[in-house]
């Protein structure tokens, strides 16, 4: 693992390109400490939209995912769910933007579709693990639906709720990010503010975003969910642009058909020959460099995240720090893990220019903070022997060996997530697969874009399978509801 990462460094493009990064840092720091809540136009609308898109996307994905989970024993359903969740929300958004334009439907579906695949998998696992001891006492003539709702569902319900809350938090992050492709959420204002160097405004937007995420448990009560859904449906901007049916039909029947088939009259050998040439060029010029860059970046970021985790987790662990130190640690980790990788990468990009470095640091920080938080929490319940050493000796000889397997389990679990994000960061100009996908959309070459998205999904599925095999071989277990 480490060796792969070292080799990856050699090939990675990590130059600092900007002329005077320190000047920009100073301007940014000044902006962060002087947040400006008044300057930003339409900020309230953006906040409402961000929350409404997240609620509707997660609710719809939840609903679909539940029914998919019931059919999860069917191989085709499992494969389909793996495929739709291997494609990042932003890629879905880019696709739906071409189909439905800048409408509310684009935002909702971009979240709901990949989330339904995730919900289906997690819900199926939860239902599988439900306590079924009462089954023995039930008469054999009882209907299947009755058995399901009385035996499995009550036990799974509480886990469903916990997981949905976690997903809502992810949904808020994704919803904010959707602004970067043009939807009217916080990301839209954030991008404008960054682009114009208005760091005080950007700081204000980020603070509001952290507050929404930090207070999520205070306002997301199960009983209020129907109300939230109704309100969201009412406030969401449906009329951003009219959905044209012709557009939808053209997208599926013409736009995404590979170019050689589209222009050819009757389909003959020549069509296939030119299709082969088309696909070879696409693969050699775009997909392959994209895949290589994506893998290199993923591997460096994964090891970086692991290294940072080992530094981060003691910051919130009562075994190493007192109350005051831990509080500072918590604040740092909450901010780092609540900020989407995409925004972190954008900030570093402004400082260092477009290379792999901003992406590596952003991914390592964000994921290191997530795993560091989980590991820190894990050490809370550990019981130490009375004569245990202190400080660095305690860390190296006692705590670290005990949590190392759990640490590896979480790290491998994040592997696939890091790869999904790596591909997406291409939209910012780093030459991973997302860069080529974004360029293809910009050039209106939808056939290329779709094919590249499918390649990205397959790469993701490969990592997912590999990570699961490794975890199974090392007998590492990850509790789904922890992540």
């Amino acid at each position: 693992m480490l060796a792969v990462s070292v080799i990856s460094w050699i090939y990675a493009d990590i130059e600092i390109i900007t002329q005077d990064p320190w000047n920009e840092v100073m301007r940014m720091v000044t902006g962060i400490v002087t947040p400006d809540f008044l300057e930003t136009d339409n900020l309230i609308t953006a906040i409402v939209n961000t929350i409404a898109f997240a609620i509707l996307g997660v609710a719809f994905g939840n609903f679909l995912g539940f029914f998919l989970a019931l059919a999860f024993h069917i191989r085709l359903v499992r494969a389909g769910c793996a495929f739709i969740r291997a494609i990042h929300e932003l890629f879905w958004a880019l696709v739906f933007l071409q189909v439905f334009g800048l409408s509310a439907l684009t935002g909702i579906l971009a979240l709901a579709i990949p989330y339904s695949g995730i919900f289906a998998k997690v819900y199926a696992e939860i239902l599988e693990e439900a306590d079924t001891t009462s089954l023995k006492t039930i008469s054999q003539s009882t209907g299947r639906i009755s058995i399901f709702v009385f035996v499995r569902l009550p036990d799974a319900w509480i886990h469903f709720k916990t997981y949905s809350l976690y997903r809502l938090e992810c949904g808020l992050r994704s919803s904010a990010i959707l602004g970067f492709v043009g939807l009217p959420t916080l990301g839209f204002h954030l991008e404008t503010a960054f682009a114009e160097g208005k760091y005080s405004e950007a700081s204000a937007i980020l603070i509001i975003f952290f507050l929404i995420i930090a207070t999520i448990r205070k306002w997301s009560h199960a009983k209020l969910v129907p109300l939230y859904i109704v309100v969201s449906l009412m406030v969401i901007p449906w009329g951003l642009s009219d959905i044209s049916i012709t557009n939808v039909i053209r997208f599926f029947t013409e736009d995404i058909v590979p170019h050689p088939f589209r222009v050819s009259g009757p389909i003959d050998m020549i069509t296939f020959a030119s299709f082969f040439a088309w696909i070879t060029t696409l693969f050699m010029d775009q997909a392959l460099p994209g895949i290589i860059a994506t893998i290199i970046l993923t591997q460096i970021a994964l090891v970086g995240a692991g290294a940072l985790t080992l530094i981060f987790f003691p910051l919130i662990s009562p075994k190493f720090f007192g109350f005051f130190g831990r509080t500072l640690g918590h604040i740092f980790l909450v901010i780092t893990r609540s900020t989407p990788e995409y925004i972190l990468a954008l900030i570093f990009l402004l400082l260092w220019g477009p290379s792999m470095l901003p992406a590596v640091i952003a991914l390592a920080l964000h994921n290191g903070a997530i795993i560091g938080h989980l590991m820190g929490r894990y050490t809370e319940s550990m019981v130490l022997r009375p004569d245990a050493p202190k400080g660095i000796n305690l860390y190296a000889y006692d705590i670290l060996p005990k949590i190392y397997r759990q640490f590896l389990a979480f790290l491998f679990y994040r592997w696939e997530v890091i790869m999904r994000e790596t591909a997406i960061l291409g939209i910012l100009g780093i030459t991973t697969l997302g860069f080529y996908i974004d360029s293809a959309f910009a050039d209106l070459r939808y056939d290329r874009a779709i094919l590249l998205i499918i390649i990205t999904a397959i790469l993701n599925l490969g990592i997912d399978v590999m990570s699961r095999t490794i975890r199974a071989r090392l007998r590492l277990r990850t509790r789904v509801d922890l992540l």
Binding site: S134, V149, D155
Partner: protein, 220 residues
């Protein structure tokens, strides 16, 4: 001569090459009230499970682990005894909000077992004895003429044990209970089957039997 409901012929159950039941033959006649006694590990639970599987699961059962749905209320757990009598829609309706009709059906069962004030409490918040009585309630509500119970009153206090056991006896024609309390076993049954190390060593009427007559079962 009463009708024979269940019978075993020279049944041996092995687990990992170790015999849990050896060479057991017995007949259960309709209307008999049987107590299974013996030390823990003598094979009582295995024998009961064996008879239950042979019955096509049509009898009311209280397994040792109770098999309650912990997040559901006492009402819902008792209601589950008749889950097979209704369609899915009616069952879901009662899961969301108990109907008046089912409340009228379930409440008397809970009252008899001293659970009336806990009817809407989730089972996981109840004491061990209350949970056990809920499991008995579900079995009684099933309305089967035959009742199997594996230590159904082990966690219930003495006074309530009598109420629970007499309710079970009154509501079912045929009853088989495994019991560790020998006094209660002799008081409520008319026939006692004693097991020792997986072998049936006693199968007699309880008429005139004293608790000391069973001492042999508990000696090493």
């Amino acid at each position: 001569m009463e009708k024979t409901l269940f019978s075993l012929e020279k049944t041996t159950i092995q687990y990992n090459g170790h015999a849990i039941l050896s060479d057991i033959s017995l007949r259960i006649e309709e209307g008999s009230k049987i107590a299974l006694v013996g030390q823990s590990g003598a094979g009582k639970s295995t024998l009961l499970t064996q008879l239950y599987e042979a019955s096509n699961r049509d009898v009311a059962l209280v397994p040792q682990e109770l098999g309650l749905v912990r997040n559901l209320s006492v009402f819902h757990n008792i209601y589950m005894g008749r889950l097979n009598r209704h369609g899915a829609f009616y069952n879901i309706l009662n899961l969301i909000k108990p109907t008046q009709k089912e409340l009228i059906n379930v409440r008397p069962v809970a009252e008899k077992l001293g659970l009336a004030d806990k009817l809407f409490a989730p089972v996981q918040e109840l004491s061990g004895g209350q949970q056990q009585r809920t499991a008995v309630g579900r079995a009684i509500f099933k309305g089967s003429p035959v009742f199997f119970g594996d230590e159904p009153v082990s966690a219930v206090d003495e006074h309530q044990s009598h109420t629970v056991l007499s309710t079970i006896m009154k509501s079912h024609k045929t009853v088989i209970l495994s019991m560790h309390d020998v006094k209660l076993a002799l008081h409520y049954s008319d026939r006692v089957i004693g097991l020792k190390n997986g072998v049936k060593v006693l199968d007699e009427s309880t008429r005139g039997m004293k608790t000391s007559d069973l001492d042999d079962l508990y000696q090493e």
